[in-house]
Structure formats: structure tokens, C-alpha cells
């Protein structure tokens, strides 16, 4: 039996070595090369002395805002979903848009937010002048939040759905107000769902790049944009990899921060 379980691991170990460890190793290796392929630490020095540090902070800030608003919308949505009669159907309807290609959805927003688009038509109905909504911080965060909502809702929905409703009744019976019940019972019991939701939103949000150009008109610069530029335009794979190393480190840190605890909630 023991042999059998170990042998079963082999294909997976092979997979991990080839597609997880090797790419990360290559990125780390390339980050130590300069344009001529010589070993150097200059890329790291460059990262700390130039605009990249500010860029990291902006990326972080926008990813935070996106995650925050996504959570703000998703948690109540998931909560009400669990209360509906045909919850699986409703959940399905929310998930369906995520089947559509990301780029296609982004292009659709160019039309929706455009001067002659439906949003401006509505603004005009209320008697205001049409304004260009595209290429603003607002449009960027709006579209990003829209894209991430389904990914945040699913884990929270599952956590809420698995929760035993008698715990809520118990809390209410024992005199807890609705808010206290939420704060002391519901939220702590679904925190794992929230954490995985944050992970699947925050981490990709850090390296968004196509939307920064199409919707934010390159006025929002994230680390993802910088990596694309370094690889495709400047052809400086070393610097591109260095930025990628920092992106990996940040992601690792955010994983640690939101890691699921094995022990039960605090007493």
C-alpha cells in the first residue's frame, strides 16, 4: 500500500518540477543577468532606486481598492444568494459572465463608457452633460471589480451555505442582536471563504495589465505593465524578471497573510 501511494505521486512531482519550480528558478536566474547576459545585481539596485518602488506601492494600493470594493459587493450578494429559493440558479447566473473572454468584456466596456454609450445616455436623461468616463481611476476600478466579483462570490457563498443555520438561531435565542450575530457568529464562521476570495482577487489584481491600457489609458501603471514593457519593448529580460521576482514575493506575503488556519476559530 505504501509503495502504491508514493508511486501515485510521481506524475504530480514531475508536473510540479517542470511547471512550478523550473519557471520560478528561471525567473530568479534571469533576474541576475544584465543585457549582455553577465551576472549582476544591478537589476535589484535599479528596482530600489528608480520608479519601480513607487510603482509597487501604486499596484498595491489599486489591488487593495479593487479587493476592498469586490468584497464589499460580494459578501452581501453571497449572503442574500443563500437565502433565495433557487440559489444554485442565481449563483449560475452570476458566474456565467466569467465564461466570456476577459478581453472581450473589456472592449465592451469601452463602448458602454463611451461618450455615445448607454451610461452617458442615462446621464443626459437626468439633465447632465455627458462626460468621458473612460480613462479614469473610476472606470479602471469599476471594470476590475466587475471582473473579480464572481471569483469572490463563489468561496463566500460556499462558506455561508455550509454554515449550520441552527448556530444563528442559537445566537438569536441567547439574546444577540442581528449585528452581533453577524459579527460574532456568521462572519467568523465564513472567514475562510473571505480569505480565499481575497486571495483570488488580490493576487491577480496586482498584475493586471491589459485593462490598465484599455480602460485606464495607461494612467494607472501596475507592475504587470512594467513587466510587459521590459520583455516586449525594452527586451530587457533581466529587469523584467527582477520585477517578477518582487511580484512573486508580494504574492507570497499576501498568501501568508490570508492563509487558512488549521485550528478552529478563537473562543
Amino acid at each position: 500500500m505504501k509503495f502504491k501511494s508514493k508511486a501515485a505521486l510521481i506524475p504530480y512531482l514531475f508536473w510540479i518540477a517542470l511547471f512550478v519550480i523550473a519557471p520560478i528558478g528561471l525567473i530568479a536566474y534571469y533576474s541576475l543577468l544584465d543585457l549582455n547576459g553577465d551576472f549582476t545585481l544591478a537589476n535589484y539596485k535599479n528596482f530600489f532606486t528608480s520608479a519601480y518602488l513607487t510603482m509597487t506601492l501604486t499596484s498595491f494600493w489599486y489591488a487593495f481598492l479593487i479587493t476592498f470594493f469586490t468584497l464589499l459587493i460580494s459578501y452581501p450578494t453571497a449572503y442574500f444568494l443563500t437565502k433565495t429559493k433557487h440559489k444554485q440558479l442565481w449563483l449560475m447566473l452570476i458566474i456565467i459572465p466569467s465564461w466570456i473572454n476577459l478581453l472581450l468584456k473589456t472592449y465592451a466596456f469601452i463602448g458602454i463608457f463611451g461618450l455615445s454609450g448607454p451610461v452617458n445616455a442615462m446621464i443626459e436623461v437626468f439633465g447632465f452633460d455627458p462626460t468621458q468616463i473612460l480613462f479614469t481611476d473610476f472606470s479602471f476600478i469599476f471594470v476590475a471589480v466587475y471582473i473579480f466579483i464572481p471569483f469572490m462570490i463563489i468561496p463566500i457563498f460556499n462558506a455561508l451555505d455550509e454554515m449550520n443555520p441552527s448556530l444563528i438561531y442559537a445566537a438569536r435565542d441567547l439574546g444577540a442582536s442581528a449585528f452581533t450575530t453577524f459579527r460574532r457568529v456568521i462572519f467568523p464562521l465564513t472567514i475562510e471563504g473571505v480569505k480565499s476570495g481575497i486571495q483570488v482577487t488580490f493576487i491577480p489584481a496586482l498584475s493586471l495589465f491589459m485593462i490598465t491600457r484599455l480602460i485606464a489609458g495607461n494612467k494607472v501603471i501596475t507592475l504587470g505593465t512594467a513587466i510587459e514593457q521590459q520583455f516586449l519593448v525594452a527586451q530587457n529580460w533581466g529587469m523584467g524578471s527582477t520585477i517578477a521576482v518582487f511580484l512573486i514575493l508580494i504574492m507570497f506575503a499576501s498568501m501568508l497573510f490570508t492563509r487558512t488556519k488549521k485550528k478552529g476559530g478563537r473562543a
Binding site: K4, L115, F135, L214, N218, I221, A234
Partner: protein, 358 residues
């Protein structure tokens, strides 16, 4: 144990199928040779009817593939594997390709139609004596704008007009470090090939002062925005401007007088070529007066073919916005290959400018 064997077998089968598919794909993409010619060109950069015509005249089957940046094209040619017989890079990339020994020399004896090309476009610094490349199209970088939506005094004869307070939140820039930095340098009277760090610094500061006016820095997406009157002023390539003006007659185009970029896209035969004879036939075909005229009519960029210009509408070829006369071209500069290190510096400054935008 049985399921484990099943899993292993299915993984092996999938790997085998993928491997087989790769071999098949490789074979088809490198299926160069006598009867086949693989052309690697920019998107929307040829009249498809001409490909059919060439196939009928010569009996050669053309495989047509497109790229969207010089760098992407360069990477694929460098890697080999695909049998590109013709590619159409811009001048600074041709320099790089010659340096890296990626191009075959072109036999001028096989190109009788070469005499159609205006001598102005031959023997340029990036390829002396046209040993490796033959002109295809050329153009400039300038400002396309909608005169109805901006004050009358803004004609964009000078880059200065982009800084006009009346253009708050109205200016679109092209997402390219060479183009935007070049514009900054030109607006200060410096060369757009400057290697001087102080000049680049100054240009970046100058660009940063454009902050309030810049609406967005985007790529080809600007074309529909200009056509639908969603955007008012855009710094872009001449041919792209011609496309926009074709769809939206309100628009106008100007190349500021302090100087701007003059670019050339030339046909080359990369070292990946399998059908060198066919490649020469194709180049000669594209140089034919009627063919070049039809192509210029379709694509909208400026042709270097003087025999073709005689066949084109008088109105088109005398339009100084797209065919600036020689004395106006003196202010225009061709991009030099600055080397990767300098390109990196341009990129860093461009990034700094983008990050300063609010």
C-alpha cells in the same frame, strides 16, 4: 493500482498526441520550398487581392502571416523554425537584423521594377546601397485632430499646441516610448535620436507638464475613438491618421514643423527563407507600378514608388500632409537603432512620464 496505470497511460497518450501535433505544425510552418512563399507582414498592410494576383501570375502559393510589432517579428525570425521568405520590418529593426546577420543580400539584377522607386528612398543610412532591403511604405508621426472641437488657432504646426490649456483632457498619445519621448525631444528642438541624458531628462520634464491635457496613452484603440468623435486630438502614425480620416471627414492631420519621425518599412529576405527565388519575384511584383498603386490605395500609407504615384489620384499624392515635399522632410528624422541599453533608458523615462499622469 489499476487506476494509477490508467492515469499514467492517458498522460502518456496525451503527451504523445501533443508531440505528434507539434511535429505536424512545425512541418506545415516550415514547409517552405519551390512552390510556396511565406510572407510575414504587419496586419492590414496589403491588399489581399494582390496576393491572389501574384499566385495566379507565378503559380506560387502564398502563406501570409502577420505581426504587430517589430520586436515580435524579430523574436520569431531569430528563433528560426518558421520559413519566412519575406518580412517587412522598419528601418531601425533592419539595422539590428543586419548586425545579427539575419538577412540575405538582395540581388538587384532580379528586380527590374526597382527603377520605379524614387531615389530619395534608396541608399538610406540604415541600409546603404539597399543591400538587404527594398522600400515598401513610408510615413510620419503627427497629430490627427478634429478642428470642430478645438479653438481655431490650434493647427498643430508646432508641438507647442499640444500644451494649450484649451486641450485639457483631450490629448491621446500613442503607447510607444520612442514616439512619445521623440515628441518631447522634438518639441524642445532636440534630435529624437538623442543619447544625451540631460536632454532626455529635460524632455521628460517637458512631457510631465502635459499632464492635465493627456487623456490616455493607448494603441490602435484610438482609431475607433477618433472615428466616433470620442477623442479630439491624437498623436499617431500618418497611415493610421489616413484610416481615421477616410471614415470621419471632419478630421485633419498635421506634422509639426519642429520635426518629427520619418519611418520606412522595407521588404527583406530573412535567413529563414526557403524560397529565395520566389522572394525576389514577390518583391519585384510589389514594385510594379500598378500593383504598388493599388496597394497604396488600399492600405492608405505613402508609397515610395514614383511610377505608382503617377497612377494614383492627383489629390492623394499632392496632399502635403501625407506626401510632404522634400524640403519639409528635412525636419523629419529617421529612428536610429540606439541599442538595447539606450532603448531601456528611453523606456524608463517613458514609464516615469506615464506614472506622473493623473
Amino acid at each position: 493500482m489499476k487506476s494509477l496505470i490508467n492515469v499514467t497511460i492517458s498522460i502518456l497518450v496525451v503527451c504523445g498526441l501533443l508531440w505528434f501535433a507539434t511535429i505536424k505544425l512545425d512541418a506545415s510552418s516550415s514547409a517552405g520550398g519551390e512552390g510556396i512563399l511565406t510572407v510575414y507582414n504587419w496586419g492590414e498592410y496589403i491588399d489581399p487581392e494582390l496576393i491572389t494576383q501574384f499566385e495566379e501570375e507565378t503559380g506560387i502559393t502564398v502563406i501570409y502571416e502577420t505581426f504587430d510589432s517589430n520586436e515580435a517579428m524579430l523574436t520569431k525570425v531569430r528563433q528560426g523554425g518558421s520559413a519566412y521568405d519575406i518580412a517587412v520590418p522598419s528601418e531601425y529593426t533592419i539595422e539590428t537584423m543586419v548586425e545579427e546577420d539575419l538577412l540575405y543580400e538582395i540581388d538587384h539584377a532580379k528586380l527590374p521594377n526597382l527603377q520605379n522607386i524614387d531615389s530619395y528612398y534608396l541608399d538610406l543610412p540604415f541600409d546603404p546601397k539597399n543591400k538587404y532591403s527594398i522600400p515598401y511604405f513610408w510615413g510620419t508621426v503627427g497629430v490627427v485632430f478634429n478642428p470642430n472641437d478645438i479653438p481655431e488657432h490650434l493647427t498643430f504646426e508646432t508641438w507647442e499646441h499640444l500644451w494649450d490649456p484649451a486641450l485639457k483632457d483631450k490629448v491621446f498619445l500613442v503607447d510607444g516610448s520612442r514616439e512619445v519621448m521623440g515628441m518631447g525631444l522634438n518639441s524642445l528642438g532636440y534630435s529624437l535620436n538623442s543619447r544625451d541624458d540631460a536632454e532626455l531628462r529635460e524632455a521628460t520634464e517637458r512631457l510631465k507638464s502635459l499632464n492635465g491635457n493627456v487623456k490616455a496613452i493607448i494603441g490602435d484603440e484610438v482609431t475607433p475613438l477618433m472615428i466616433n468623435n470620442e477623442a479630439t486630438v491624437a498623436v499617431t502614425f500618418s497611415g493610421q491618421a489616413a484610416d481615421m480620416m477616410w471614415e470621419n471627414e471632419e478630421l485633419d492631420f498635421a506634422v509639426p514643423q519642429e520635426g518629427s519621425n520619418l519611418w520606412f518599412d522595407n521588404m527583406v529576405i530573412p535567413k529563414t527563407a526557403q524560397n529565395i527565388e520566389g522572394a525576389h519575384q514577390f518583391i519585384n511584383f510589389m514594385l510594379d507600378a500598378e500593383v504598388a498603386a493599388q496597394n497604396a490605395d488600399y492600405v492608405g500609407y505613402s508609397t515610395p514608388n514614383s511610377a505608382a504615384m503617377e497612377l494614383l489620384d492627383e489629390e492623394v499624392v499632392t496632399d502635403e500632409r501625407f506626401y510632404p515635399p522634400v524640403e519639409m522632410r528635412d525636419n523629419l528624422e529617421v529612428y536610429e537603432n540606439l541599442g538595447l541599453e539606450m532603448l531601456g533608458t528611453y523606456n524608463e523615462y517613458f514609464l516615469e512620464f506615464k506614472m506622473s499622469l493623473q
